[in-house]
Symmetry: C2
């Protein structure tokens, strides 16, 4: 009833357990005939390696942790989850390609015992490394723990490079917002509403600067048209409602992520405003939702899955001892769809 062990395989193949181990880990110095005999025994026994035992014996664990913020409100999590999901898919695929496993590790930034939980998590020896999502990747407490612990980790879209935490991926947030704002200008818009991101997402500040610089250059920045959201749909709806009922309503609204942009869609819909005839809408991310929205959303594509994949591969290489170099900054791309009209 109990699972076969490496000893059973060794006995059946008539070799030592060490040789079985060598075969299982793809080491080179094994005679092909021996290897074949071992594999046959493995198949015959339906043997599968015990991860815990392998971890314990000091080698790698072959387990990575994806650390993300998740508060108590389930619905809110779901609506903000799309970005995490996309990174997750990339990470899962990288894991799958390398024989790794991925653990989902939520952390509630707002919980009273946040620090204790964070410390426990980051000190768990089962994980070879951590993929840290925003905004946690910019949180001083987390950064501090990561450095002190000498943790193997990769940060997703952090606001700044850190010499002690060399692995991270992201896009040029400033430039992304800059490009989209320029596009809006090109399309003839001058009264542009803006929905910023949450204060604790450092990259949101970069995006705001990109937006502001372009508009100030063109002499049409209006602080009265700036609102803030939390990257969630509801906050986009609220800000959209607010902006679109202004006495002089904007001809376009630029939301710093797609989810909030889709909130603006609903605001427009409620006010019987047509997109893009009455109001244009722009986002950032190119999440699946933006593609399937009606009308499809014009946005700045961030290759999120590819970033998740690359980040995870770098982490895996690092956990294997290789010094991994990585394309830190991914190219973004303005995706013109149907939500922006000419003025």
């Amino acid at each position: 009833m109990s699972n076969p062990t490496i000893h059973d395989v060794a006995a059946l193949a008539d070799v030592s357990i060490k040789t079985v181990s060598r075969v299982l880990n793809g080491e080179d110095k094994v005679k092909p005939a021996t290897r074949e005999r071992v594999m046959a025994a493995v198949r015959q026994l339906g043997y599968s390696l015990n991860l815990s035992a392998r971890s314990l014996s000091g080698a790698r664990n072959y387990i990575l942790g994806l650390v993300f913020h998740a508060g108590a409100d389930e619905t809110a999590i779901a609506l903000q989850h799309e970005y995490v999901s996309a990174i997750q898919i990339g990470a899962i695929n990288a894991c799958r390609a390398n024989g790794y496993h991925l653990m989902m590790e939520p952390l509630d930034l707002t919980a009273p015992d946040f620090e204790t939980r964070a410390s426990t998590l980051l000190n768990m020896p089962v994980m070879d490394g951590f993929i840290i999502m925003p905004p946690l990747c910019d949180h001083p407490v987390i950064i501090d723990m990561l450095i002190k612990r000498g943790a193997n980790c990769v940060r997703i879209s952090p606001s700044q490079a850190l010499a002690d935490l060399p692995l991270h991926v992201g896009i040029d947030d400033y430039q992304a917002a800059y490009d989209m704002t320029g596009h809006l200008l090109d399309m003839g818009h001058r009264r542009i509403g803006f929905i910023g991101g949450p204060v604790d997402h450092a990259s949101a500040a970069d995006r705001f600067r990109g937006f502001k610089n372009v508009l100030e250059g063109a002499g049409c920045f209006a602080a009265s048209m700036v609102r803030y959201g939390d990257y969630g749909w509801d906050s986009g709806l609220a800000a959209g409602l607010d902006l679109l009922t202004l006495p002089e309503r904007p001809t376009a609204i630029f939301a710093l992520n797609d989810m909030m942009a889709l909130g603006v869609y609903s605001a427009a819909h409620r006010l019987n405003l047509h997109i893009p005839n009455d109001v244009s809408v722009a986002g950032i991310d190119d999440t699946p939702s933006s593609r399937i929205a009606t009308p499809p959303l014009t946005t700045v594509r961030q290759p999120i899955m590819a970033m998740g994949f690359a980040a995870t591969e770098a982490l895996i290489k690092a956990s294997a001892g290789e010094k991994s170099s990585m394309n830190v900054l991914f190219a973004h791309e303005l995706i013109e769809r149907d939500s922006i009209g000419k003025r």
Copy 2:
């Protein structure tokens, strides 16, 4: 540099490692004073228990695996991922509440080495149990392995109960489709297009029966208005385009899940058809996307997160040896929003 172990804690607290273990696992026969001393040592050392060692020693692992189908195409995964995501959130919360961890385990149903991979996964001793998503939960090979292995598992929304696999959650798929079809009838629709689910999702067949029975009862079932999709957005778009360009186009389209219903939204949009004035649309699931769509989608609510939560709690109880009873069938609810108009 290396982490403190139970021995370090024991030395510092001046007790045996067994006592430390007792404290850590909340066993009763420990003097309060001793317990306090141990806890102090734990805190002082920043000790955290090694999951691998615990697993190896034969105890529980405190790790669950979420097993879902994921092919090679990343984009397709993303678009079909919303249901998995919702279950995942529920599962994560249940894990969090019980000190468990969740591993994401993709399995490609279409891969040539599917059986080998499935067997390896289901035999991994690191996991205390598995949460099996559709369509894997209905796959004969998987079911067979699960039973043979005597695996601790819970199936999400399987087509039928299995005496050997007592744990599962779901809704009454037949009734859900039945209710929605009845509603469509009530709203005056008679020419109703239908987009079915993939053949390998057994619950899709139940839903189809629900739809067909109502319409046949009303004498307006038309096989010519039945199409099939794969629960993905693109397939909804294609089927929608097809149905809406029929010489006599349907006044309403019922898609078996929200993602395909949103595909119909895009089809309507491309054909310049207004929802619900020109065509009504209905779905099933009540995923986040359906709520934020414009117009908000009328759908049958499935409490997906709650199901994920309950399923996971049952699994945890079972892995702790408790015979867990569980509300297998969750109540569904017709959510009227704005995508269905009166005829």
